[in-house]
Symmetry: C2
DNA sequence: TGACAATCTTGTTTTATGTCAATTGATTCC
DNA sequence: GGAATCAATTGACATAAAACAAGATTGTCA
């Protein structure tokens, strides 16, 4: 079974918001490239809350999760990271990192020193635009996530999550319909703000409706349309007869 | 009663993440300052989803709400804005705005053209740092908000909301204990991802516990400590005898 | 000033989802 | 290779908060 799933930790070479930056750096100085690459393993931390800000990292291969911690020690995952993502951007404010970044599998990153960022901002318009664009894009994603967290049902949240993964893999030239969930159910539950049991139940429910096929961390999307419809209006769990009047009206408009 | 509440639409002159930027701009060119100031009224839109990105705005006085829209027309408020905040930053990605910004009261903004941003990024280290810092700070706030939305009870959400407002007003040199809620209950409910009725009930509950005093949009914080404790561990709505075992344990550790 | 429209509050009912508990199924590691 | 640990599922039950409904208050404009 494993063989049908694409390797997700191939080096990422496709277009990305920061591919331009890589160019700029390459053009500026080739000799230091060796030193700027670092490899990490599962459960390694790239950064911890409170670490001094030294620069940003571009994830080249593998995957990671970024999380914040509340006063009482509770952790909350704010993002899953994939190749091309910039890590450690949160350090610009106050020169201290507010998030911990932990790898989900063997991964490699490219490091850009603070001083390098500064000089590139002045000399390379591409780098400037790329960085601003990337941060701006992250802000937009956060807004969408907030909307998802605060207004969606459990089924909508999981559907949204799977679709985002699917889109992300597609953009990176991997299969958007068959992939491996590198994170645990606990991580997914934490990220989506729901109980782990509910995640399990929704997966099961989707599977019974032939929308997905899931076994442990191997996931196939069988009916993309159904997932998309689920996100737009949460009809997955209801029969038409049990629809409330407002929901019926919304369906009618479609 | 109104007289005891501070005017919130005085021009903001205190320290802010972008006060340095204002300096830089002032130093660069004084003559255009007149043109860059614009005044808006309640319910006016500064930006709409889909608008082409022309530059960013710094809110000088008043207040606004930023919201995104889903496919089915539902709106979700992602942020309330106060003097010193940068508006329109979301346009860096794709040169199109993804959020609508609407004023809650008569407000004024300072406009910085795209071309100006570009030249300032090159020439002024202060502006560069200020902008990156501001965006980074916003990202951190978003993370905290996501955590709040996904893991908090209704009482915790409202407590967190009031504390954030209080801190924001204090930082701006206004009273952190007595202020006007410029947004409607509906806006608050939308922002916090809860029903308007629940917002009303939580306000009432807090009032009965002498934590706050609220009448329409006039709000006083009577017991800051209680609000803070409510955010840390949600004990507001429970008596000690009804605590579950884990919650009791958490309380004991305090 | 009075009437209409918003906005906010309060009471009751319903339901989605969390919590608790038990079991099964994978990994890990001597 | 088998105990031990960790991860995921499944079922029964409890509950916080949404939905629904009705009323009170405030704001607005002729």
């Amino acid at each position: 079974m494993k063989t049908s799933y694409q390797q997700q930790n191939d080096y990422y070479r496709g277009p990305t918001l920061l591919s331009t930056c890589m160019h700029s750096i390459g053009a500026t100085n080739n000799s230091h490239q060796r030193d700027s690459h670092r490899v990490f393993h599962r459960k390694d931390n790239l950064l911890c809350v409170g670490d001094h800000f030294e620069g940003v990292y571009i994830l080249r291969s593998g995957s990671a999760k970024s999380y914040v911690a509340s006063r009482d020690g509770e952790e909350h995952i704010t993002r899953f990271n994939y190749p091309g993502d910039i890590l450690g951007i949160d350090g610009f404010d106050g020169q201290v990192h507010t998030q911990t970044v932990r790898f989900l599998e063997t991964s490699s990153v490219y490091f850009i020193k603070k001083s390098e960022i500064n000089s590139l901002m002045q000399t390379s318009a591409d780098f400037r635009d790329g960085l601003l664009q990337s941060m701006s894009h992250t802000l937009a994603c956060d807004s969408a996530m907030m909307m998802c967290l605060s207004t969606s049902s459990s089924e909508q949240k999981v559907a949204r999550f799977l679709l985002d993964l699917s889109i992300g893999f597609s953009e990176r030239g991997l299969s958007g319909s068959e992939f491996i969930l590198r994170m645990s159910r606990t991580d997914i539950a934490n990220f989506l703000g729901m109980a782990i049991e509910t995640v399990s139940r929704v997966f099961n429910s989707f599977q019974q409706k032939k929308m997905i096929q899931v076994r442990l961390r191997y996931l196939s999307i069988l009916d993309l349309g159904a997932l998309n419809r689920c996100v737009a209006i949460d009809v997955c769990s209801h029969t038409v007869t049990s629809q409330s009047a407002p929901k019926k009206a919304m369906l009618a408009m479609n």
